[in-house]
């Protein structure tokens, strides 16, 4: 089979065609299990599930606008050591990018993994999805998919894509082994299957779909979407920069932060096993608080809020993939994704690095050269 093939969609049932694909993948001798977003049996929610029983794939729903967690963290758990079997993981592009960062930090392995990427249609905020979805989940996903692929955008019933998805300029899964193409396809009839790596080629050979070239409108549609999103992203960068370009503004931006550290827990690339901010390093002596208060007449409690956020940036801004889970997790609706992505964008430019771009490029803080960055040295 060639590198690209076509999957026929029967009876306008796109989700059905994807479930058939997943069943075919799971039926391969080499694959022990498949990790895929699935509707939960007990409630109308969607979560990543690890499936070995092909019948359970009936509930698989990778197109629902639900993005409860960044799956890179789950795949990292699954692949940290050899499990004796191979897993296929259905992932969004930003999950793949985050996973690539984790692999480079030795927190995941690609050896026993096949990544199935799907063109990302975006997702709602967690709380929005739960409120929006209702009991007819088939209908909910169908309505969303038709809206996005029909050119009507992701908004439905007054709910819109999460801010991170609205500014995502990488909706096509580059780092996957095999990728399912939806953009620019006549998805009532067919979708594209692309093998992007040797592992992907080996897998798709066994699937026996018929060879086909990507249709011409696909490239155009992707270019259009990427241009639109890039423009939205740059506007977001400019607005965020304007809102945080002094320490005083930054403290205002973060004023509602309660140091719950949810943004760190939700972040797929905040890689420390134990965050220093929850260790006894930050169990300050009571007398210390009094001294600090005395210096300025007042301090906000809990302390170290800006310190936490800038330190987190020092750790993850070379690796931020813009997934928006930080904002998803914030109980106080602080637009942290906007802040982290904006800062990360410039940091990554500064190191000529792009998070999730390739497994080969080393993370900026894990290498160095003898002669470099002369501009940062000297008085």
């Amino acid at each position: 089979m060639a590198k690209t093939a076509q999957i026929d969609v029967k009876d306008n049932d796109l989700l059905g065609a994807l479930r058939d694909l997943f069943r075919a993948v799971l039926a391969q001798d080499a694959i022990q299990a498949i990790l895929v977003p699935r509707r939960l049996p007990m409630k109308n929610g969607v979560m990543p599930t690890l499936i070995t029983d092909p019948e359970q794939l009936d509930g698989a729903d990778p197109l629902a606008p639900a993005f409860p967690i960044n799956g890179a963290k789950v795949v990292s758990r699954l692949t940290r050591k050899a499990s004796g079997g191979k897993v296929a993981a259905v992932m969004r592009p930003c999950e793949i990018r985050a996973f690539i960062e984790l692999v480079k930090l030795n927190q995941g392995r690609t050896e026993d993994l096949v990544i199935i990427g799907v063109d990302c249609l975006g997702a709602y905020r967690n709380t929005d999805y739960t409120r929006w979805v209702g009991d007819d989940m088939d209908e909910a996903t169908r309505k969303f998919v038709t809206g996005v692929l029909g050119g009507g955008g992701g908004a439905a019933d007054g709910v819109d894509l999460a801010p991170a998805c609205q500014v995502c300029e990488q909706p096509v899964p580059r780092g996957a082994d095999i990728a399912v193409g939806l953009f620019g396809m006549d998805t009532d009839k067919r979708v594209l299957l692309e093998a992007l790596t040797p592992a992907g080629e080996a897998l798709s050979e066994g699937l026996r779909y018929k060879k086909a070239d990507p249709p011409l409108p696909r490239r155009k549609e992707i270019d259009r979407l990427v241009a639109e999103r890039t423009a939205a992203r740059d506007t977001m960068f400019a607005e965020t920069h304007e809102a945080t370009d002094s320490l005083e503004k930054l403290t205002g931006y973060l004023a509602n932060c309660v140091n719950c550290y949810n943004c760190r827990v939700a972040c797929p690339v905040c890689y420390c096993r134990e965050c220093v901010f929850v260790t006894d390093v930050f169990d300050h002596e009571p007398v210390q608080y009094l001294r600090w208060a005395d210096q300025k007449g007042l301090i906000k409690m809990p302390t170290d809020t800006v310190f936490y956020h800038i330190t987190r940036l020092a750790h993850m801004s070379t690796a931020c993939v813009g997934c928006g889970q930080c904002s998803n997790a914030c109980p106080n609706d602080i637009p942290v994704m906007e802040l982290f992505r904006s800062i990360a964008h410039r940091t990554q430019l500064g190191f000529e690095y792009e998070a999730g771009r390739s497994l080969e490029e080393k993370p900026p803080l894990s290498e160095f050269r003898e002669e470099e960055y002369p501009e940062v040295v000297g008085i």
Partner: protein, 140 residues
């Protein structure tokens, strides 16, 4: 602004710059008392959060100083330090920090004169810049 005396937090490597500071002292070379020197075993152990903390705590300048390229006691700690300073110089200015407040220098153990000149020059520059924002404003 003339009576403004900048506070500088200085992280000096034990093997070179700290020794240079010692030498400057014993040779009675005058350098301004604005620096609060923290001796570290290597410039490569200056975690970015030490620098961030110093600034948020009101330091007007931070000086990290280690051995010349090729001379690191631990082979390459100074190269790591340079990457970290580069990282901080990407992040902090986005929040309005004047990049000149954060400096990295290489000063050998025998170079007491260079040490004294470096500190003098930094004090002059920081006086021009005035007090840091963190010193003047409430930081949460």
């Amino acid at each position: 602004m003339n009576d403004f005396e900048p506070a500088i937090v200085a992280f000096f490597c034990n093997w070179c710059t700290y020794t240079a500071a010692d030498l400057a002292g014993t040779s009675r070379l005058a350098y301004p008392p604005n620096v609060k020197i923290i001796r570290v075993m290597c410039s490569g152990m200056v975690d970015p959060k030490y620098v961030i903390k110093a600034f948020l705590g009101g330091a007007d300048g931070v000086l990290v100083s280690g051995c010349n390229p090729g001379d690191c006691h631990y082979i390459n700690g100074n190269y790591k330090a340079r990457r970290r300073i580069k990282l901080l110089k990407e992040i902090l200015p986005q929040f309005g920090f004047e990049p000149r407040r954060l400096r990295l220098t290489w000063i050998a153990a025998s170079d007491g004169v260079l040490l004294a000149e470096t500190v003098q020059e930094l004090v002059v520059q920081l006086k021009e810049l005035g007090p840091s924002e963190a010193k003047l404003k409430m930081v949460i």
